[in-house]
Symmetry: C2
């Protein structure tokens, strides 16, 4: 047997780090790293520009492992190329409590990991977002004589990613947008968990990507044809007006004599004897977690290469900065997440004398009011631009060749939209928002959850937030949707009642996109007009819940409202007070923020002793018992909505001032 080449040593270093880490953890997915090691090696060795000692270098190429279960591939690469975040001890701690090497790649755990992947299809959609962010920042900041934003986004995805609808949505849009710097390597190994892809997935993936407008290539032997892989990536880079998809045909679990090319190697340790046989088969003489010095030395050249690349960029940037100081200052502010001083002064405020509008209209006014003071803001809707009211005036549509524009047109692709926005947010430098009807949060929930988990500062603009939307009927009317979203950890869910609360919600939402721990926000807006209320302010929204109006002394009853029903509480309170009742009205636009207040504040708003509480929200009561308490009540919706004019439905479901008064009186006894 001939001596292994250096490349073989390097590739097998990746494979055995994966094999041995999974074996030690007795848990994990060795198959993908074993099969995709050659393409990953070629990509990271010959093409990827990155600086292991500064994973945050802004012009690094982005790498996304969309097939996140194969995370040992990524950890191996990070370790081998010299990232400090993944030591050999970290690899030995694969999948253990608080380790840097969790069971799927988590950007908030491991420096060098760009995005959190694992739920299939998310990563490739994130990759589309990363490439859109690059294209936009390049268009905004590059100058004819100084290119400071210029990097690629590389994605490795598998059969599972390609079966998921979200990847189709995002890739169709990527093709439309002609994102030439997006290069996807499809690990075509013909195996998914249920066995051969022949059981459910026999479509022609390459042809589908061609239909999307991608540049498509094929490497027939992804196991050993390193030159073929390199040639394909080079060719992909040479096509600048289309994203490229390289189908790389591989063998899952390559090297394992009995489990290679079977589903057995997908998601379980090989087992001691098969590890032994694989070592023999690949002529691997090193004990677990030991690496051939030559291979390690070769990989570690990435450290110098990365330092040089960044130094080179620094020079370009120094020139840029001296010639374009204003642009450079803004570029740095974008990247460091600094909002322009006093930006919040652009938020509109209102008095009750101001004409009542739908809060979706207030949202439009607010977005346009802050578009100038928050220049890193960009976004759009899933084909509901003029229902969601999300168009920014004074800038055009982000399209092929017009990447400088800030209005994104996602098409009817909610799930892809959310994941794309996660990619934009995690690229750094930009604040993305995206929009659809509130009920279709259900279509994009996989991405919304990941915004929260991965600390991606995305703003979800969700209009038509209750049965009051009317005629479209129950398929379009959220009932349980607010509850389902409030349940997501680290997601700020707002339901503003009027203009001031809309401004207040945006203030907190924007601030959270650049906070130390970034949090996404979801803003639920009404379709119907609502009055501007006495007692609302921008500042109060930041408390999550506050006293809108009160009677003197201890209230006998507290009316709690949100969004479109708060004014019912305000009106009912007036009538009840006229009838001699002591009534407090509490607005609760954001539960999460209210729960974060100290106990004294919460008690001051909702005193435990006041058990007569009536909640008024045009939604399910699910989750509300936290505030209703044992002695309270709620005007809530059971079952689904109905098709009829909005005002008719509101009345039929009991959302009238008269009914609030009646239910309050019943509670008062």
């Amino acid at each position: 047997m001939p001596a292994a080449t250096l490349s073989e040593l390097c590739i097998n270093s990746i494979r055995f780090l994966a094999i041995d880490a999974v074996e030690k953890a007795k848990s994990g997915h060795p198959g993908l790293p074993m099969g995709a090691a050659p393409m990953a090696f070629v990509l990271w060795d010959q093409f990827m520009r990155f600086n292991p000692k500064n994973p945050a270098w802004c012009n690094r190429d982005r790498f996304v492992l969309s097939a996140g279960h194969g995370c040992m591939l990524q950890y191996a690469l990070l370790h081998l190329t010299g990232y400090d975040s993944v030591t050999i001890d970290d690899i030995k701690q694969f999948r253990q409590w608080e380790s840097k090497t969790p069971g799927h790649p988590e950007n908030f755990m491991t420096s060098g990991v760009e995005v959190t992947t694992g739920p299939l299809g998310q990563g490739i959609a994130n990759g589309v977002g990363l490439a859109m962010a690059e294209a936009h920042l390049a268009a905004r900041f590059n100058q004819p004589d100084a290119t400071i934003v210029d990097h690629y986004t590389y994605v490795i995805l598998g059969d599972g990613c390609n079966m998921e609808g979200i990847s189709g949505e995002a890739c169709s849009l990527a093709g439309h947008l002609g994102l030439g710097k997006l290069i996807a390597l499809y690990d075509d190994n013909h195996i998914s968990i249920d066995g051969s892809t022949d059981v459910s997935f026999t479509e022609d993936v390459s042809k589908r990507f061609e239909a999307y407008g991608w540049h498509v290539l094929h490497v027939a032997d992804g196991n050993t044809d390193l030159e073929g892989i390199a040639r394909a990536i080079a060719e992909a880079k040479s096509v600048t007006d289309k994203p490229s998809m390289i189908k790389v045909t591989t063998t899952i679990g390559y090297g394992s004599p009995n489990k290679g090319n079977t589903a057995d190697v997908h998601g379980a340790a090989l087992g001691a004897s098969e590890v032994e046989l694989t070592r023999k088969n690949l002529s691997w003489e090193f004990p677990p977690f030991e690496l051939p010095p030559d291979a390690l030395a070769h990989f570690r050249k990435a450290v110098d290469r990365g330092a040089s690349a960044e130094a080179e960029w620094n020079e370009v940037y120094a020139t840029y900065k001296s010639k374009y100081p204003t642009e450079a200052a803004q570029f740095e502010a974008f990247l460091s997440g600094v909002l322009p001083e006093g930006w919040e002064k652009s938020l509109p405020t209102y008095t009750p004398a101001d004409k009542g509008l739908a809060t979706r209209k207030h949202s439009e006014i607010t977005l346009n009011a802050i578009a100038g003071s928050v220049p890193q803001l960009l976004g759009g809707s899933a084909d509901l631009t003029h229902s969601n009211y999300t168009q920014l005036k004074g800038t055009g549509d982000f399209q092929k060749g017009q990447y400088v524009n800030r209005n994104l047109k996602f098409g009817v692709r909610e799930h892809g939209m959310g994941a794309i926005c996660n990619g934009i947010a995690l690229h750094g430098g930009l604040i993305p928002y995206c929009a659809t009807f509130l009920v279709f949060a259900d279509y994009m929930r996989g991405a919304i959850r990941l915004s929260a988990l991965a600390e991606a500062g995305v703003i979800y603009v969700m209009t038509h937030d209750s049965i009051a939307l009317g005629e479209d009927g129950p398929t379009h009317q959220p009932v349980e949707t607010l509850a389902s979203l409030r349940a997501i950890p680290d997601l700020l869910v707002f339901r503003p009642a009027d203009g001031n609360e809309t401004s207040g919600a945006y203030k907190v939402a924007i601030e959270n996109t650049v906070a130390a721990k970034k949090r996404p926000s979801l803003l639920a807006f009404s379709r119907q007009n609502l009055p501007n209320l006495e007692g609302t302010t921008i500042e109060k929204v930041a408390t999550g819940g506050y006293i809108l109006s009160d009677s003197e002394g201890t209230p006998e009853i507290i009316l709690i409202g949100t969004g479109g029903e708060l004014y019912l509480c305000a009106e009912a309170a007036k009538q009840l007070r006229e009838a001699g009742k002591k009534v407090r009205v509490v607005s609760l636009p954001c539960w999460e923020l209210f729960e974060e207040q100290d106990a004294a504040y919460k008690e001051s708003v909702l005193p435990k002793a006041v058990t007569k509480r009536l909640v008024v929200e045009a939604a399910s009561d699910f989750g509300w018992h936290r505030y209703i308490g044992d002695g309270g009540d709620m005007i809530a919706i059971e079952g689904f909505g109905a098709s009829a004019p909005g005002n008719v439905i509101l009345e039929k479901y009991g959302y009238t001032v008269d009914n609030v008064v009646a239910r309050a009186k019943a509670l008062l006894g």
Copy 2:
């Protein structure tokens, strides 16, 4: 101007019913009906087999308007062809309270509507399910000399449906399965709400469908080339080993001189003056809601045609019944939703002496135990067959040419899977189940909601139901997922604690798929082993919540548990009782069922006076305050999960007997 042909009169009858109904409601979507009227007319007039006077005739062709916003097209067709469910007065009540003509097609409101559509992409995926149900029933029941199941599924879908990922998932699977009796007409009108599809959707849809393995046709002039449409449908029918997609290029709002071919006509009334101009333009002399007698007479021939078709089928069926009485009896039982007498006796029962298993394993045992006694059951997993444990033994995989088999292989397509199962359930005759990890309910929530809304008896088998799944980490660990699902109206969410509760959950789930008002169920199962508990029974699960064990007299504290944490409560109760405390343990496997019990029963299980309650569930506390009450507490998860072995995570998050005891003692003071 030449006199209108009869076909033109018929087509314009559809158009003006839509125009005038939307105009009267001042709400709705006239554009699609105006553009798609020609293809719909040709399809319903020349091809569709249905009996307007018996919409439930089992061998009718199924029609799905996937672009559900264009529902006036469907209501017009139902009215014109003589369905009793949609009178002209019903059409005048378009989008009004409790009308038969709601804002989107609702199968539970309007006889003749097969499935609820509106959320884009669902309908075409339902269509795949309808075609799979037909293929399966045909394979099960047809005999060489008697074909009793033999119908087509026709779908009209639009650009929006084709942008949604769910349609790609379902159509990829349909191509794989070679569903030759599925024929989709793609209303290619180049307009979506944001304007021209050029802004976001420029892929080659036909090529994509070819890549899926579909037979693809194109009618270039879908506005006037009725022969071309007819030829294409005939050709589609002639290809029996592939589903067919006919791209029919049309003009949205055809006939409206100023709004046709623009987004303005998509989702709003034309307005009086444009209606007037459209009447002139199409030479339509009839006032609103009046129809040309010739056209109506022609359409109404469907009544006789349908009666003949059914009569013909009845003859075939009579022969079948005499020759194959056993099969006929089963066929009738399937269609009428009758379960075999005593089927529930096949449900396994357990005692504490029986070896503890993961509830996902109990689920597998139960599915296989009832596969014989519930022969209409079929289903499978989204590529997690051997993790979800959903394979039925004794039958093979449902594949092209092997439609008789009952194991469905969905691939990694959760959203498509859910919608396909809705289609199977709403076809009638079958009980579908489908499976993935619980956390990925997020990917298919759009379909789960529609199961509940549309009364589709689907069983969702969701395994890996908590942080206890371990190493895969937070992307795979449900925390808020149970809450988000419990919030969905009319969905029964079960979290069984052991073998008996698993059997009990399946009993209720199966019964609800054939109830008068059908309800879907979602069963959450553990990855990890759990003991069989003293006090669980199949029957008790039907109450939703019950006393598992108790002390004598009034309890000082109630421990409430579900699923994998119930045994912690049982063990902690023993220790607390040994320490002299009066402790009740309540199992709450299904909130929805518990809430349906009468007040006396609920009080008997959870007496209001006992305010010291400790809930133990490895999930978010969201929604639990209903049972925790003002004086209770919960061992809950804040934030997301983590990657580590399951037992480590459970301990870190406080799910141990010791901690339950400690927290109970703290509550007791």
